[in-house]
């Protein structure tokens, strides 16, 4: 998708000014892991609430008034729900302030910005989703989008990994996808022993079968058969991907995770026969303005906020080695 395509998209500008945020209300907060929360939020202005549309992969600028703005993708699917969701890890000034907010608090939001996953290109193909940690958030928007239009796509395989069982996000989604017989879910952790001992997914506590498996996970046993024949493997995502070895034929791989994971995943996909055009990723940079003006999110001549955040590997490989 090019810049000119974006200009044709719907814009939802507050007072006609692209930098002004809409006021949003937080409706629900899910603590995914000790440092990661998902916020369900909605427009305060009911008219915009009805009119607002977005596509999977787009992002927004979220702000806590008086603290600042930060970009996050919209992690819910446009096919679902009467609200929007975003997921963030507590890492800096803005994310800390967001984590301190409660249900009912007001935040600023402007967007949607950026391009989106190329739905047209994905339809009819086998899809391999490769996610790591909180990188599942943008994939999740697309996964639900795909599953809600299941007949338009081929096989769906999800390879998701986190550092430890406690760091697995969206357990309720993993469970739901696991229950879906048309989806192959493979979950892996870098190491089985969780650094954080407490049970994790508070909202879904007790419902998550993955979590209930944790107690049975033993050291030295790297592949564990769970009760409903799902795997909780041990190993880094690129390694697991290599073991699973999905076919590149009529397939697209959609990758999102920490930069180090992305960096090691592309070569593995290449080995498996995926061409750079078959590899899609969504990137994260320090996007301050979100609209291609403030200058800091570029990789070469590509501005992640303006030209992305969704790219094929073919688009970014020229610059990625030394700046990503």
């Amino acid at each position: 998708m090019t810049a000119s395509d974006i200009s044709d998209k719907h814009r939802f500008l507050a007072q006609g000014n692209v930098y002004l945020p809409h006021i949003m209300i937080i409706e629900k907060i899910i603590e995914e892991t000790p440092g990661v929360k998902t916020f369900h939020f909605n427009f305060k202005d009911e008219q915009i609430r009805d009119e607002f549309t977005f596509e999977s992969g787009q992002f927004g600028e979220y702000s806590v008034f008086g603290v600042g703005e930060a970009p996050f993708c919209i992690s819910s699917s446009p096919t679902r729900g009467d609200h929007l969701e975003f997921t963030l890890q507590r890492v800096g000034k803005v994310t800390n302030a967001l984590h301190r907010l409660g249900v009912g608090a007001e935040i600023g939001f402007r967007g949607p910005y950026g391009n989106s996953f190329p739905i047209d290109l994905l339809q009819g193909k086998n899809l391999i989703f490769v996610g790591g940690g909180i990188g599942l958030a943008p994939l999740r928007s697309l996964i639900w989008n795909v599953l809600d239009n299941r007949d338009k796509y081929g096989d769906v395989q999800i390879i998701y990994g986190a550092r430890s069982p406690a760091d697995l996000c969206f357990r309720y989604d993993l469970d739901a996808w696991g229950d879906d017989k048309t989806v192959d879910v493979i979950t892996t952790v870098d190491r089985q022993e969780s650094r954080v001992q407490s049970p994790v997914s508070r909202v879904e506590a007790g419902n998550s079968r993955l979590q209930s498996q944790e107690s049975r996970v033993g050291a030295g046993d790297s592949r564990l058969q769970t009760a409903d024949s799902r795997l909780l493997r041990e190993g880094f995502v690129p390694q697991v991907l290599e073991q699973v070895a999905p076919s590149a034929e009529n397939a697209m791989a959609i990758v999102c995770g920490p930069p180090i994971m992305i960096r090691f995943t592309f070569p593995v996909l290449g080995k498996l026969g995926f061409t750079p055009e078959q590899m899609i990723t969504t990137l994260e940079k320090r996007m301050k303005c979100g609209i291609g003006k403030c200058g800091r999110c570029n990789i070469g001549d590509i501005y992640v906020c303006r030209d992305g955040p969704v790219f094929t590997y073919a688009q970014i490989k020229r610059f990625i080695s030394s700046e990503h």
Binding site: E69, C294, N298
Partner: protein
Amino acid sequence: MGIKKIAKKDIGNLLHQWGKDYTILVPSTEGDTALTVHGSRFTVHGLWDGSDVNLDWHRNTVKPPKSNFLPPMEEMFRFQKGKEGHSIELPQEERRQLIFGIRPCDARSLRLLDMIFTDVYQDPYYLPKRNSAVLVGLVCLRPYDSCFCTSLGISPGGSDDVDLLLTDIGDEFLIEEISDKGKRLMELTAGLEDATEDDITKASEAKEKAYGKVTRKIDTQHLKDKLLSSFEDETYWEKVAAKCIGCGICTFLCPTCYCFDITDEKVKKQGARFRCWDSCAFSLYTKMPMENPREEKWQRVRQKVCHKFEFYPMSFDVIACTGCGRCIRLCPVNWDICQTLEGIRDRGGDHQ
């Protein structure tokens, strides 16, 4: 097209007339002493105080005119938390600006900035100021030894990007109408004389002479491709970056650098969101909590050079440099972008 002239001593009169409709910004020294910085006259486009004409127009300003359109800091909006939640209030629109004595290179820089601020999304702070402003250009008769505008298609006497163009012809300024906006302004201006043939000849001679004074050159042919093929050459970039101290002078005072930061301030229940200059020379500029794509100084230096000479041409088909030479003469360690580009040109011939 009318060509007029005005005696230098009557400039105050002229500015008074224009001052009714515009905020007048003139090149002026701060105070009464003509101080210099690193051998550059310390002048800025500052508010004309309306009193006597104390203009120092001989040499280009230290602060580029972008600071009047993209100010070092600007309030984007104010917010307030009341019983009904947050409310947002936009700042009032400012008065139209008239930039008096802008150099052709700096006038071009604004056109380069227009590209980014109209790209995909219209910038609601820059554009209103820019569109309502009048640029009264001044032929640059004394370019610095660090100037290389002619290598970038700009002439010290160029009129492409201004509304009116003044030429110093001794005791008088020749005034040429360039754009429609300039024409309209002239129609409302009283007290101008028609220029004589002699004046016009004098002016064109002066322009020609000024062109010859820009002796520094860079070769921009295939530069974009050479930069692209040198992008991964860490050794080269480390070498050129070694003496850079990573301050923000070259970017903040570059007429075409536009990077900014957005930041909030709140006192009790109200506050404001600001936008202020930021620079790719600062390591925090790209810093994210978990990683920094441009951690190393050489990466940041590379970004600065490539943004102007490689990425901007890829996006907008034009080099984002006007050859004004500020980054060279204001640099505290004399880091010279021309030398860096020369080094790129001299590197192997993997491009035709």
